[in-house]
Symmetry: C2
Subunit: 439 residues, 2 copies
Amino acid sequence: MSDQRVVRPTPISGFPEWTPQVRAVEQRWLDHIRAGFESFGFASVETPSVENLDVLMAKGETSQEVYTLHRLQADAKDDSDARLGLHFDLTVPFARYVAQHFNELTFPFKRYQMQRVWRGERPQEGRYREFTQCDIDVINVDSVPLHFDAELPRIVHRVLSGLDIPAWTLNVNNRKVLQGFYEGLGVKDPISVIRAVDKLHKIGDEGVREILVSEGLTTEQIDPCLALARIKGDGATVVTAVRELGVVSELLDEGLEELAFVMNDLADLPEGDVVADLSIARGLDYYTGTVYEASFDDDPEYGSICAGGRYENLAGQFIRRKLPGVGLSIGLTRIFAKLVAEGRIEGGRVCPTDVMVVVPNAERRTEALRTGELLRGRGFNTEVFHSIAKVGKQIQYASKKGIPFVWFPPFEEGGDHEVKDMERGEQATADPTDWDPKG
Amino acid sequence: MSDQRVVRPTPISGFPEWTPQVRAVEQRWLDHIRAGFESFGFASVETPSVENLDVLMAKGETSQEVYTLHRLQADAKDDSDARLGLHFDLTVPFARYVAQHFNELTFPFKRYQMQRVWRGERPQEGRYREFTQCDIDVINVDSVPLHFDAELPRIVHRVLSGLDIPAWTLNVNNRKVLQGFYEGLGVKDPISVIRAVDKLHKIGDEGVREILVSEGLTTEQIDPCLALARIKGDGATVVTAVRELGVVSELLDEGLEELAFVMNDLADLPEGDVVADLSIARGLDYYTGTVYEASFDDDPEYGSICAGGRYENLAGQFIRRKLPGVGLSIGLTRIFAKLVAEGRIEGGRVCPTDVMVVVPNAERRTEALRTGELLRGRGFNTEVFHSIAKVGKQIQYASKKGIPFVWFPPFEEGGDHEVKDMERGEQATADPTDWDPKG
């Protein structure tokens, strides 16, 4: 084998991969996010990585980025996977899942879903071709109580607060406020204004103004639109500031009431963590009420690290039931890969081992194995050294792998067990059946 | 939206998907397997779902089953993902990973990897197009101690014993025993005999005999080959039985010594769980020593649910270093999906909620939210009811979702909290800061 051609592998652009140390941190993050979701009673769902192209195309938005699957050697008799594509988000598969399993689900259905998704984008900073999203949604038949609009930011707050990441803000808005306000100003196509305002953070006031002028809006309409987008703060502050702009519309009233309810419900969270920000628009057409968007305070240009909102009808393409919902998606890879690239992820352990058991010699190996089983049974991740070697070499291995404790089973029948705390350098007798590393 | 065309989605053959209850069990299995792997100090690795086709084709064996990726709308300026395919196992990606990250890894490198893999096979019982494998391997530079050959069955034994699955047996053999034995019989191409014996469980003695006759073996050679394949038992039994066949070969001696060492090391496990079985051959060419294969006792026809072995050089195509290893792969989906299909998976909970907090009325909602946060902070998965509704309706919701405890915050300022055990029907006062559901 040694004389065959060697193709040294290289990373594939857009498909991140981590060393075991970094993977250990990612795994901790995933566990933490999952625990956060479950602590609010959300159930896990996973869907296949692929969907029928009909399903993926139902909305059409990201269709050009879809990866389709082809068998390397097509089977002429079986083209059953000829129309499959990898999912590009978790919302479309969730909509399909709810429609398909409608009769098996209990509503309101509270689910979380943490999976890889794929997009055939050109790789660039913050954009990956394969990445993990952590989605949480509530979906119900006919209507979804507003209480959930307030619960989701609370969940995300709990989750993000527990991750060691740079400061972030979760911004909340309500599409009814924007649409009602624009309607109150006499704008004919409020959605086009929403799309323009969505670009505000990228192109600035003047950029938005240019678009709105080209859309036929007057200065008397554009100025209040831009003034609205500058309003941010807690619920009461924002409501007062909007009222001061003097625009009147029923939809605006409804939106402000909803926004105030959500913000009021979250009043116990640390000030400034969740903020009502009327510049948040979210481009996607299907949002109809509350919208969310979080970004890093010191790098807003990086874009959203978490986003979502309320939609009136998630699965209308798949089932003749009205299924509104509200959801949030955390861009795990977007956050994690950025911090890895910036060297801000404190490397995790090389291995999950708590204790390495020394093998005194070939005759005492069974005793070492038994000790390993005892410690494992008590919940300690335990390696028994993997060969007969000098004790010094065994300790060196534990040290190289950062294993915190080295265990010495009795070197002679009837002798004592001892354990060495590698960090403190202390060694003491111990009993594998009741050893407590903290005691 | 309601008048648009509705495409009722259907399951995609070969891509399993579970209801939340079944998913809850799968999640528990995954947690258990991971904990088992980590309890022996193995580190988590994940690789991208795709590899370059060069990498996937390096061995060539399953190439016709590879799914290649294509963007729906190809970008003429960027064909950087034109040569990508989904991985069909976790061994090839692991070999590539070790070669690529060679200088970042600590050897012997003990890793586990639990991921989905894809194969464009025709769907049939026990075969999926997307399925999860749980792999565990040790890889080292130049040589791998035999102790690991014995450790891997111990790990798999721990893992499988903790899953509620039908009785299984993990069979162990050593390719050196087979090859040495055939060589000792004067067989010219021992590998062809290994391949024939590998089919024994499917085609029986007579089928194997036919193949071997066609390969030019004499009856004096074939009879001992079939006699060897009938030998099974503990280490000592097997060694004695092989010796009685009177074949002499150095390689055979070496293989028997290794097999006896592995079996002896596992002597503390319950009798019959891990068995030396000389009919186990494993078809793959790259195994060179120990081989493993587990199957269900009551359905051996279903094939292996776990398999692996020792290989001399895992990553020879990717790096000019000798990297031998030993590994085992648990076919999670193969096991799980069979039990689901047979109705043998006891449905998990609809949701992970431990406690549902009743909302007395709109005014007392903040108190309910605070109670929810308190209980969550103490580790209880807690839902606060999602709207203002009659208490009876709230309890009904908890009952429908199988939530074990319903919590009543004080309905008036200064009142007591109460909690209802839904299974026992008992209700009592409780303090959210020190409530213990077991007490």
